[in-house]
Symmetry: C2
DNA sequence: TGATCTCATCGAAATTTGTCATGTGCAAAC
DNA sequence: GTTTGCACATGACAAATTTCGATGAGATCA
């Protein structure tokens, strides 16, 4: 049995435990942490060896964590809380200035509010003003210099080297099971408004693949599109996060849409240390929790 | 500047910081932690690089820690407190049994009481009985099997492989500045009683080196010897911890005594898991705080 | 000035961590 | 029953990090 002196809990291993709990497994936690599945497995193994007790249950139909694992999770959260507070506190510098940050409706959520709130407490001399618009508008305002940075959706292949990738999403074709699509007839399409770049991709699709799309409903909010789908009004393109239990995925009937990427995009020639710090904070938080929770 | 994601504070580096603060320097902290001085120096350097701020002040006549370093010390203590509690809590097992522990008067202190108190709370089924005796008595009782373990003083060269070394001490020859030693006359010697192994070494010295020692005062407590020295009654051998501001160190006038070691010594054939756990707890605590504080 | 002490730095050895490939177990589908 | 897919574990090894010992640099004291 290792002596007490040999028992040192690695902060990153504790963070891995919390990620496993948060995301429901070793493999998903590994993705979030940017490690391989086996690295995370090794970390847990090393914790278990160090403490000489089991943390994850290896039995079927058992909770993921053992009782000891649950106890350690509690300690882990406390340690990580102080650790992260220490890191933030000591990183505090005399940053100042103004930041104009854009975001889309579906990234306007409590997670981001918490990030911004903490940022304000740490850097009271920095003023952050946020604008909520759709992605194409945000991109235009970036190029006009009206925004310093924005969290936008782009297609995976449109990600730029200077973008900070937050996470990716898959788009799905969805409809209600009660909606019957007849061959040879135009497909009723539920569309976000002109500023949604999904819509353009969907309409271009109508020409390229021979399928005919008829826009029967336009709405600028995801909630509206979701309601339209569940009412059986038509077919829509929705990201994975927006899927509802009663929806039918009909990806096989239509061309596969490219993956989406959520990125922080900065205005060109932006050399603002405060902005860099904010970007880093947002990136770190997303890395820890995986996504920015949807507001729906 | 490193992103927030790269900032991970190593628990052992934080522990090194606390040891530096506690013991007044990198070199002493390294001894306590069982590392080389350069390893501790590297640890601090890595913390500083990770946080991109200075922790130790490298200026003369400045406090050891910078302001940021002081802040981080506070966090470090909180993190280590939770960390160590987690380790102890998860190590709790169904230990039981009886332990007879011996200790010398000068290790009977609040530190050890705290250790024993915590041990009792974690392992309520284990009964610990303590006896306070001088080192030679304790060693005899160990060999008789009357004790399971004891914290004893031995000369450095008498440390056994199975002993758990807690810390070392230097012995000094001391007297009061008002005591004048005349050449050719016997040296007045203040002696612990027959059970103190210092005394035997000191009397043997009288034969080996030609100096003549005359025992003018016997006392079994360190406090008594200290009082005799400060009263100018004679010369005594005292450990570093017992030195008082008004004492004059006269090491150059007498042969250099061997260093002392405080060890946990176990009875032979002792195979008690509870005892092993207690030994590890004591060892860990001493490693964290350096010494067991004197009771004087 | 020389001696001593403390911490920093360098080069290399030792240790730890992460990756890749593969193994193992379980559940679902056929 | 077999096959397939998914999740985590394990082994070998490379990469990264930490530690050691030697030495350098600076400060202090006699």
């Amino acid at each position: 049995m290792p002596g007490v002196m040999n028992r040192r809990l690695d902060v990153d291993a504790l963070r891995a435990m919390v990620a496993i709990d948060q995301h429901g497994g070793v493999t998903r936690a590994a993705e979030i942490l940017g490690l391989s599945q086996s690295a995370v497995s090794h970390k847990i193994r090393r914790l278990e060896a160090s403490l000489d007790c089991e943390i994850l249950s290896r039995k079927a139909n058992a909770p993921m964590f053992t009782t000891a694992g649950q106890d350690l999770l509690g300690y882990a959260r406390r340690i990580l809380g102080i650790h992260d507070e220490a890191v933030l506190s000591l990183s505090k510098s005399t940053l100042q200035g103004k930041i104009a940050l854009g975001m889309t409706e579906d990234t306007t959520c409590t997670d981001l509010a918490r990030i911004l709130g903490r940022f304000r407490r740490l850097y009271p001399e920095v003023s952050v003003r946020t604008k909520v618009r759709m992605s194409l508008v945000l991109q235009e305002q970036l190029s006009l210099g009206a925004l310093d940075a924005a969290i936008v959706q782009v297609f995976q292949h449109e990600v730029r080297p200077a973008d900070v990738l937050l996470y990716r999403e898959t788009l799905h074709w969805v409809k209600s099971p009660e909606l019957i699509l007849r061959k040879g007839e135009p497909v009723p399409f539920l569309s976000f408004d002109d500023d949604c770049f999904y819509r353009r991709w969907g309409l271009d699709l109508g020409q390229d693949a021979g399928a005919v799309f008829e826009t029967v409903f336009e709405c600028s909010s995801a909630a509206g599109i979701i309601a339209g789908v569940t009412s059986g009004l038509g077919v829509a393109l929705l990201s994975q996060r927006h899927l509802q239990p009663g929806m039918e995925i009909v990806d096989k009937d239509f061309p596969k849409p490219p993956d989406l990427a959520y990125v922080i995009r900065r205005a060109r020639n932006s050399r603002n240390p405060a902005l860099e710090t904010l970007v880093r904070e947002i990136e770190a938080e997303v890395r820890r929790y995986g996504t920015l929770q949807i507001a729906v």
